[in-house]
Symmetry: C3
Subunit: 343 residues, 3 copies
Amino acid sequence: MKTNEGRFFEDYAVGQVIAHAVPRTVGAGERALYHALYPARHALYSADTFAQGCGLAASPLDDLIAFHTVFGKTVPDISLNAVANLGYAEGRFLQPVWPGDTLRSTSEVIGLKQNSNGKTGVVWVRTRGENQRGQAVLDYIRWVMVRKRDADAPAPETVVPELKPALAAEDLVVPAGLDFSTYDFTAAGEPHRGGDYAVGEIIDHVDGVTVEEAEHMMATRLWQNTAKVHFDATNREDGRRLIYGGHVISLARALSFNGLANAQMIAGINAGAHANPCFAGTTVRAWSEVLDKAETTAPGVGALRLRLVATGADHALGELRGEDGKYRPGILLDLDYWALLPV
Amino acid sequence: MKTNEGRFFEDYAVGQVIAHAVPRTVGAGERALYHALYPARHALYSADTFAQGCGLAASPLDDLIAFHTVFGKTVPDISLNAVANLGYAEGRFLQPVWPGDTLRSTSEVIGLKQNSNGKTGVVWVRTRGENQRGQAVLDYIRWVMVRKRDADAPAPETVVPELKPALAAEDLVVPAGLDFSTYDFTAAGEPHRGGDYAVGEIIDHVDGVTVEEAEHMMATRLWQNTAKVHFDATNREDGRRLIYGGHVISLARALSFNGLANAQMIAGINAGAHANPCFAGTTVRAWSEVLDKAETTAPGVGALRLRLVATGADHALGELRGEDGKYRPGILLDLDYWALLPV
Amino acid sequence: MKTNEGRFFEDYAVGQVIAHAVPRTVGAGERALYHALYPARHALYSADTFAQGCGLAASPLDDLIAFHTVFGKTVPDISLNAVANLGYAEGRFLQPVWPGDTLRSTSEVIGLKQNSNGKTGVVWVRTRGENQRGQAVLDYIRWVMVRKRDADAPAPETVVPELKPALAAEDLVVPAGLDFSTYDFTAAGEPHRGGDYAVGEIIDHVDGVTVEEAEHMMATRLWQNTAKVHFDATNREDGRRLIYGGHVISLARALSFNGLANAQMIAGINAGAHANPCFAGTTVRAWSEVLDKAETTAPGVGALRLRLVATGADHALGELRGEDGKYRPGILLDLDYWALLPV
């Protein structure tokens, strides 16, 4: 067999380190495509002049370009046989990615738990993205449910890693040089500072985007994500292509500009659930809830912990779960993250 | 309210200057996407070598990339609540945009006229796009019909600006260094000089392009144009997404290569009407009429005033209006512009 | 007539040299779009670091970007009135294309043969692509069937060029500096060296991609290929847009990563047939057959001659032709090429 059939549950062992294939140089082209595929407008990622006014050398590539690229490399090794992408935790953005940087990914298996049905198990990995200088740009924990190759294979010792429910503000890494003390609110598009947001506040981002097959496939390929289910209409019985969950993250984050234009940079991902599948033809909208507020040691830079919710059919602000405690059918994404904004 | 609901008619005052948000750095990625989204082939925007042979340092970004980017920034402030985009006048391209340039836009309100129904009014603005060196790259007048927030709000004093029906050739700005005296007609693709075109001549550009939803949305997002009607299939009662008028301009201009390959640069926009809406599935064609000819002081550089017409269902050369004086239903665009070409 | 109606059979003469119009500068944007449009993952074209580890200055643009760009320029002169694209031979990649290079194309007519029906004829051309330094980056022979303008025009003298059935390994040009002696198999994604492949071996590339209209049109426009049939849904009686054959080549080549991840560079194209038309909605898959193996004089660099087959409806490994000797209806592409890989 010359082709990669992916790893099955019994192929993982706690402590195992997997160097994922195909490093990737990203630059001006990926940046333009990101703007074509998502209604992205956060000024720090739109204009060199704005980024320079915030103490950076130039406009970095969008944080989520880094995330999707690092994530995409892990798919052939981690989630090719995954039944479900269960969650994210402790995601930290450690270094901006600049045009011309080359990213590669490594994952360490940090947890394993066979399911009681004996056919599947849960694998926890800590994935780290690095640039060509060997600097970490991103790390995060992800756990997925993976099929066993052989249902009779013995169960491994159960190891369930202890995960922080959320990063503390002190865990966040503010990019070197970032300074919001002379922040240009007019150029950024909204006047709201950190102090203008209240914990518990809910913001309707108003706009909607109806998603097309060509768009989500182009995005997902751009991140070299190879999961068949996104590209091959013959793969599922219903003949539908499942949209990569990260596409919905980027759409929702871009839509959140309207109301959160100053939440410029993503500093951490506390948790995330792809609550329901998304398909082409869906009109995606978003709302956010302010979960927490914090300060940082960088000049003028504060942090906002936000719940970013993407909705499909049913856009009910603040309503996440039904009476049964499960996500409502219209919820596509529930993402808990930290953003940096002017205090 | 944290989100932008846009300005209503009573929010404008003559003399008001609006600095539009989110500057944008454009470069090699936007250039490639422009070529992927439109069948653009004018050699000056295709090849550094050709542009250098015309006296420029390198190939600038397509004029319409500059126009769409500058225009896109104005949407949240000018046309979010617009009922109709009524016209353009006195558009001048003042400076090429180079890869790496950062563009921002400012508009001054130069006219206001409440409609007799009391529910809407017309707003005239002069918009100026600037690069990161503070040089104007483009200015143009646009007028739109905007809803009133409150029908009982008093009408402002009527100010209707006097607009030139067309720019004179002397008003056109030829880019510094442009020299067509050693122009390479073989590389450009056609042998026709300015002298080969006659006023009144009509050129059928022959080719057609059937438009897809993914394409016009990617283009419109690339210019950070946020008008809901282009992206959200639930926005209109008929469930159709309206294609950004600028998408049709770029399509028609690109199609006009076939017959006008040497009309390399757009120097001015005299007038423009989006005569009928365009939707995905339409096969767009184009024809041009030569309206005027002029000389410039730059070596070998002449100017052609052209009417560029995009058609949908009904491609009848030279037939613009029906017996009632209104645009025929198959007309999508009627654009009056000046182009620079070798004499 | 200002517009190009294309050349007809009687417009060609053996020995005629046609300089094709519109040179094109390619770079980071084309590279990103290539990755968005095809599931391309060969590491040498994905990461500067990987290419540098193979002795190159940086990651060149994908070989097929060079091919499509050079090919696209020939369409207005060679195949605008073509009835069929009959074949390729003796294609050699002579020089990598780097971001910022400007490509132009020239074709020499090397054969002519009027068909017995008197209405069409076959034209053979040798096309050469050059960069801005005047270096050849690519040359290949193509032959097409072209309509006559006038069925009564006299037949030219028949000249049928002698074509090599395949390039010999000695005919291949290995890029200056290429060195696979310290090749990083982990980063490349697969462990298989040249020695691991056997002549006659067939590899199923497993993955499938369902093609969308927006994707193939964006790709084909990006190469400035103007053939109407790809863009205009009113052009054919069945209302379908024919997908550019080169789009299927790039799709199949990208899919072949899975099993041929180390077949990094295309060095030669021996033959190629677009066996059946491809339309949007088709799920394209691919398989390869190892036809030959060879060494080169570059350190660690071997060559594999491969048959790359793209399939649509019917993915039967190794089954190319039916009992009638014709391509099976599910075969889209049969491409015979040489690739460079670590020995």
